[in-house]
Symmetry: C2
Subunit: 191 residues, 2 copies
């Protein structure tokens, strides 16, 4: 691949990260091109479609999540490890509108990216460890995490400017709801 091509590809990715984080899926290809100081044609040469670009960037983010989940497994306190991962996930989503939209409204994209990045396994372990330690309620399953995450990411975005959001309040409440012992009985998971 020619040198300028690779350079432009990077510029597109960088611009895409910023625009998608700010405006979510509504971000416009022209804006991305402009920010990358590149023509739209160039964007399309590297990513045949807007979806393709979005998915490529989503994959990046999921890789980051997986890494963080593995890292959190090293935390000697199982509950702290679990909470650490939840906090990281929430903050990532709070700063990336596109990611939270995918979590909330594109199950296919999400489950594929999760698959690809191997996110499921370390998250399951985090949960199992915390449950075994008696700090996480017994009736949560790994599938609940995206469920909770999605809410975490979406709720906060009142208006759209800056990270003046309440996601940390939200996370605090959810974390307390996840602690053992459970009080409210949950219906069995479906899906």
């Amino acid at each position: 691949m020619r040198a300028d091509a690779r350079r432009n590809r990077e510029k597109v990715l960088k611009a895409g990260r910023k625009c998608l984080a700010d405006d979510g899926f509504d971000a416009q290809m022209e804006d991305i091109a402009r920010r990358a100081k590149v023509g739209v044609g160039t964007v399309y040469r590297h990513f045949p479609t807007k979806d393709a670009l979005v998915e490529a960037l989503a994959a990046e983010r999921f890789k980051g999540l997986t890494e963080k989940a593995r890292e959190a497994l090293d935390n000697p306190d199982p509950w702290a490890g679990f909470a650490e991962f939840m906090h990281y996930s929430a903050s990532v989503q709070a700063n990336d509108r596109a990611l939270s939209e995918i979590m909330g409204a594109r199950p296919e994209v999400m489950s594929e990216a999760a698959e690809e990045s191997g996110l499921f396994e370390p998250v399951s372990e985090l949960i199992a460890k915390a449950q075994k330690a008696g700090s996480l309620r017994r009736d949560v399953v790994p599938e609940d995490v995206p469920l909770l995450m999605c809410g975490l990411a979406r709720a906060p975005r009142r208006g759209s400017k800056g990270p003046e959001s309440n996601w940390e309040r939200y996370l605090g409440i959810v974390l307390d709801g996840l602690r053992a012992p459970a009080i409210t009985k949950l219906p069995p998971p479906r899906g």
Copy 2:
């Protein structure tokens, strides 16, 4: 107003409820017209704009919420009253995609509808009562309710068919997170 006009208005509202509940804001005016067995022109005579229709229907829903909140105040058990309201709100949103989108992504519309319907007052009372009774954590404020609600409504919609959703699991977790005593300390609310 002529008799047929009023009749058509009702048909449009009914069709709008159904289409918006199913497809959210993406519902198309043509679909609504078709379902109402009416031309698009007729829809536009009654509601000058898609937004106007959406807002009219949102107002309906908020009226229902307000009513339910007042009703829940009669519950002799303050916590049960609060939970009853939360459960009702969540189920309404789980069955109305447009409503949950408004809650999640249109603060202006939401706060206006909430204002209009007088929702804030009974909700504040519900919270105050449950806190006084010692069953609801002290650090929640009325503004947290939409925050939580939004998540409740959004997370569940994996795929888009039917109410095969997990919102009740979600609600159960959040309710436990709202119980006193709080463990995780929340940052102060902003906004």
